[in-house]
């Protein structure tokens, strides 16, 4: 059977030692470097104290790296095989949030895992990438061209989107849709379909608007125009720009950011940590951190292009896009380019679920990297045989 032949040809067995040898230690070091920047900023944010943030952040990073290594060492074909299971678990967590979740900041997003508060919507973004990678891995170019083929992945996207929107968390929903769309795009979906989807989405807005309640409409208004709420979101952005701008080229020095330390800067340990960094370390520090991120993102691209399986490529680049969106949305937000949305700066901001999600994402990228020579049949049946 040709199917069998392919399966055999694709079979590339790695021993544990091979995997350990192939593990990208350099990139792990880079992640650790970014995390160290974050820990240093959290130390400064607490006024020169390890408590309450820096030490716990370091511990969590350690745990996160452990999870990441496990994710990376799992055979990529297992990820392919159990993609739906992983996806299902994350959806179950979203439903659990709906049922038992903690309410915070006006939305029900958090799941109390004892050790930490976990936000399943973060994880769902990766799981959607995973499951879409599997779907598009199995579809030929012709299949992808068919509208009927696209119905299933659309449903896979729509289910978590609806659940996250219900929390309500419009921002995360949009980010998830963007990540999913980029996987669809990479998977070969025709451009005109994106245009059609975009146009119909815009056309649907007035209809959807009609069904929104007043408080929901207000939320959207504030989302679209933060200046209309100057004491709320607008104030944050203004203070953020002042702190950042006053940092200048070389900054005010570590722990010397007057705006951050005098509490003018809100949420300096979470959303606005980049502002604090830019105030204390200046443009040089800010660009330095962005450079680290660019290397990490570039690595994601490299891994995707080097992978011999379509699944691996889609998975690696999907996770990379997810990581990039974190970085971009956070920085663009604090420098006033896009409206405020509570997005953390990956690996730097205080917060467990975002950091864990990013590390799991890099674990998947590492997994693709380690198994880049593995060819996987498009036909799942062969695998299962």
């Amino acid at each position: 059977m040709s199917t069998y032949e392919l399966y055999v040809v694709d079979q590339t067995k790695y021993s544990f030692a091979d995997k350990v040898r192939a593990f990208p230690y350099g990139i792990l070091l880079l992640l650790a470097a970014v995390a160290c920047v974050g820990i240093a900023m959290l130390y400064a944010a607490a006024g020169g104290n390890w408590d309450p943030w820096a030490s716990r952040q370091a511990t969590r990073f350690g745990i996160g790296v452990g999870v990441m290594i496990c994710v990376a060492l799992i055979d990529i074909k297992l990820w392919l095989k159990y993609a739906y299971v992983a996806y299902g678990i994350s959806i179950a967590m979203l439903v659990a949030v709906e049922l038992f979740g903690t309410v915070g900041k006006g939305a029900q997003r958090w799941l109390d895992l004892g050790l930490m508060q976990f936000q399943p919507s973060e994880l769902v973004k990766l799981m959607v990438v995973l499951v879409l990678a599997r779907v598009f891995h199995s579809g030929s170019t012709e299949d992808v061209g068919k509208v009927s083929f696209l119905l299933w992945p659309m449903a896979l996207i729509a289910l978590p989107a609806a659940l996250i929107l219900r929390q309500p968390d419009l921002g995360t929903t949009i980010l998830m849709l963007m990540v999913a769309a980029s996987v669809l795009f990479l998977g070969g979906v025709r451009l005109w379909k994106f245009i059609l989807a975009g146009v119909s989405a815009i056309a649907a807005v007035p209809v959807a608007w009609h069904f929104l309640r007043d408080y929901q409409k207000n939320r959207v208004y504030t989302f679209l125009d933060p200046e209309s709420d100057p004491l709320g979101a607008g104030y944050h952005i203004i203070q953020s720009k002042i702190a950042l701008g006053s940092g200048g080229l070389f900054g005010k020095g570590f722990m010397n950011g007057s705006q951050s330390h005098l509490q003018f800067l809100p949420e300096k340990q979470t959303d606005f940590i980049f502002t604090m960094l830019a105030e204390e370390w200046g443009l040089v520090g800010a660009v330095g951190l962005i450079a680290l991120y660019v290397i990490l993102i570039g690595y994601g691209f490299y891994v995707a292009l080097a992978s011999r399986s379509h699944f691996g490529r889609l998975l690696a680049l999907g996770c990379t896009v997810n990581f990039f969106l974190y970085v971009f949305v956070n920085i663009a937000m604090v420098i006033g380019l896009i409206p405020v949305k509570g997005a953390p700066l990956p690996l730097v901001s205080w917060g467990g679920s975002a950091q864990l999600t990013v590390l799991i994402g890099y674990g998947l990228i590492f997994c693709v990297s380690i198994h880049r020579e593995v060819k996987i049949s498009r036909n799942m049946m062969g695998m299962e045989a």
């Binding site: 030929s140 170019t141 990479l186 070969g188 950042l244 701008g245 940092g247 443009l283 379509h310 006033g336």
Partner: protein, 632 residues
């Protein structure tokens, strides 16, 4: 089959690579946008944001400068500052100020009026500006508020300085007082918005307010987003207000006040005829200026304002009186200046007729034949009726102006009254064309009655100019020229001359000597006793009501028989010593009766005290080097 699959796989990889490149490109663009924006914020706009950041974190706090003290000519304090504890509330920190005030009321009962004022001020002022709740707290109240400070957010105790006038009533009129800034006086200067800040409202406190006020200091403090002070960055203590030294001699002032207190309402000015230094400026009754610094109750204010004796008025500069016979010296000068022979005699039968009108001399049966000196010494009215008509009102009025009458003297006190010296033009301007000047009015003007109104300080300047040889001295109370920019010595340059011949001045001066020192002089009672100095002077008795024909026929009532407010004003002006004039004095006793009987003895007593002390001997109060040598 495998080939085809591989081809498909390659196509798929090519498509993936292309699309990955697109996504990479988009990311590159987005990252470039981030970097561009960062560059713009942190390099291009860095200065602007640095300024904004400093505005955020740095608060300027004004430190009110201590008000300068006011001293008398010998350096004794007339106005000083005393510590005052007050409780203030800051709206921003109180969160719910009304509730905090409710709690404060349990310690410090607040009246409805106070509550209303506090609420109003809080609404008007910026939220971080403190508003005074109550001043002049006792130690007990301070302690109670401090103990309960946790329950009273935004409430704090402030130590301020309040004005205190150690000699209070004796100096109230020329010193003035300080009081809270009214809404109309707000200029936008934040110093004026400080709670409890007081500015000069009257007298010297007002004239030299800017110099006394000093320059506000400031403290730059770093605050956090909640307004809490983290540290003081810079402090500028400002400049304390300047010390203002007056020419007043407080001892003489007190003597004068005490002497004048024997009358219900009186005023007295003593000045140095050479320098213009005002040594005494007194008015009775007086008021306590400390009450204003403390804050006057509405009822007290009402009582002061409605008192018919006008205790708030500085009668020396604002009391308007007919000069009466005191004015005859001006008429005499006008006559001499017009070429009138002073030896010419006028017969006084006791009255003078102009057309159908009869004008009476104060001496019912007449003085007989009078030359100018006699007429001045005995204050004959008929002589001046006749002579005033000969030269006309305009020459009299012009001479009066040369003697500092008919307009402000320029003394350094606010709101000095102008007074009136009438002439033809004035009459037309005031009453209209059809109401021209009448001869009878010139007759009245000849003895300082009619429309004529003067203030004691004008009369004192008048006699000073007569005594100092016709120099146009201007009275003043401050020893130096004080301004916010600094202090300059007063230039004791030659005063301009008012252009009178020395023999004319001597004649009038000698006549004034006669008034006091000749037995037939109207002010013989004012002759100085026990001093080797003589005083010259002139009495005046100013009628405040018209004596009707009917009354005159029945016999003019004596002053003592009239109700107080219808009695004549008693006036006396003089100078001493006659051989080397140094001091001029003007005394007005409202409704006191006769000038010779009432005002002259008062002037004598005050002048005696002045000559005994001779305040001009004090070298500290005057810049002698700048003063030209004069005959003494």
């Amino acid at each position: 089959m495998a080939m085809k699959r591989d081809t498909t796989e390659q196509d798929r990889f090519k498509l993936f690579t292309r699309r990955a490149a697109v996504i990479g490109g988009i990311k590159g663009v987005l990252l470039t946008a981030l970097l561009g924006r960062l560059y713009y914020l942190q390099v291009v706009e860095a200065d602007r944001f640095t300024t904004l950041a400093d505005e955020n974190r740095i608060n300027f706090r004004l430190l009110p400068p201590p008000r300068g003290p006011i001293l008398d000519r010998f350096g004794r304090p007339l106005a000083v500052n005393r510590k005052n504890y007050r409780v203030v509330i800051v709206r921003e920190q109180a969160k719910d100020p009304e509730e905090v005030l409710d709690r404060l009321s349990t310690i410090l009962p607040l009246t409805d009026r106070e509550r209303k004022r506090i609420t109003r001020e809080m609404a008007k002022k910026r939220s971080f500006m403190p508003v005074t709740v109550r001043e002049n707290l006792t130690w007990d109240q301070v302690a109670q508020i401090e103990v309960n400070s946790l329950d009273l957010p935004g409430v704090s105790i402030d130590v301020g300085l309040t004005r205190f006038y150690p000699v209070g009533e004796d100096v109230a009129h020329f010193l003035g007082y300080v009081a809270a800034v009214s809404e109309a006086e707000l200029t936008g200067d934040p110093l004026l918005e400080l709670p409890g800040f007081r500015i000069g409202k009257a007298g010297i406190e007002r004239t030299y307010d800017l110099a006394l006020r000093g320059k506000a200091g400031s403290s730059q403090v770093e605050v956090n987003a909640f307004g809490r002070v983290i540290q003081e960055l810079e402090r500028d203590d400002g400049l304390r207000g300047q010390e203002v030294q007056l020419t007043i001699d407080i001892d003489l002032q007190s003597v004068a006040m005490k002497r004048m207190a024997e009358e219900r309402s009186a005023s007295c000015v003593v000045m140095d005829v050479q320098t213009g230094d005002v040594v005494v400026m007194a008015s009775v009754p007086s008021f306590d200026p400390n009450a204003f610094a403390r804050g006057l109750a509405y009822r007290e204010w009402q009582a002061l304002m409605s008192n018919p004796l006008a205790p708030m008025q500085n009668k020396s500069t604002n009391g308007l009186y007919h000069p009466g016979s005191v004015f005859k010296m001006v008429v005499a000068h006008a006559l001499l200046d017009a070429g009138q022979d002073p030896r010419e005699r006028v017969y006084c039968p006791g009255h003078y007729d102009v057309g159908e009108d009869r004008f009476h001399c104060w001496k019912r049966h007449g003085h007989g034949h009078m030359n100018m000196t006699d007429a001045l010494v005995q204050s004959c009215d008929v002589y001046f009726y006749e002579m005033a008509l000969r030269i006309g009102i305009d020459r009299i009025s012009a001479m009066a102006n040369r003697f500092a009458l008919g307009g402000r003297t320029g003394v350094d006190l606010p709101g000095e009254a102008d007074g009136i010296i009438p002439n033809r033009q004035w009459k037309i301007q005031t009453f209209g064309k059809d109401k021209g000047w009448r001869r009878g009015e010139t007759v009245h003007a000849g003895i300082g009655q009619g429309y004529m109104l003067t203030t004691p300080v004008q009369l004192c300047a008048m006699v000073a100019r007569m005594a100092n040889g016709g120099q146009a001295i201007v009275p003043h109370l401050a020893t130096k020229q004080y301004s916010p920019e600094g202090t300059a010595p007063r230039p004791y340059a030659e005063w301009p001359s008012i252009g009178l011949k020395p023999e004319h001045l001597k004649l009038v001066k000698d006549a004034m000597d006669g008034v006091v020192n000749n037995a037939e002089g109207t002010a013989f009672k004012a002759k100085l006793v026990g001093l080797d100095a003589r005083m010259g002077g002139k009495t005046g008795t100013a009628q405040v009501r018209r004596i009707t024909m009917a009354e005159r026929e029945k016999g003019v009532k004596k002053n003592e028989d009239l109700p107080w407010e219808e009695r004549d004003h008693a006036l006396f002006v003089g100078y001493a010593p006659t051989d080397a004039p140094r001091y001029a004095i003007a005394v007005v006793v409202e409704h006191g009766g006769g000038g010779g009987a009432i005002a002259a003895p008062m002037a004598r007593d005050i002048m005696t005290a002045v000559l005994k002390r001779d305040p001009a001997r004090d070298p500290g109060a005057r810049n002698l080097a700048a003063m030209p040598q004069r005959q003494r």
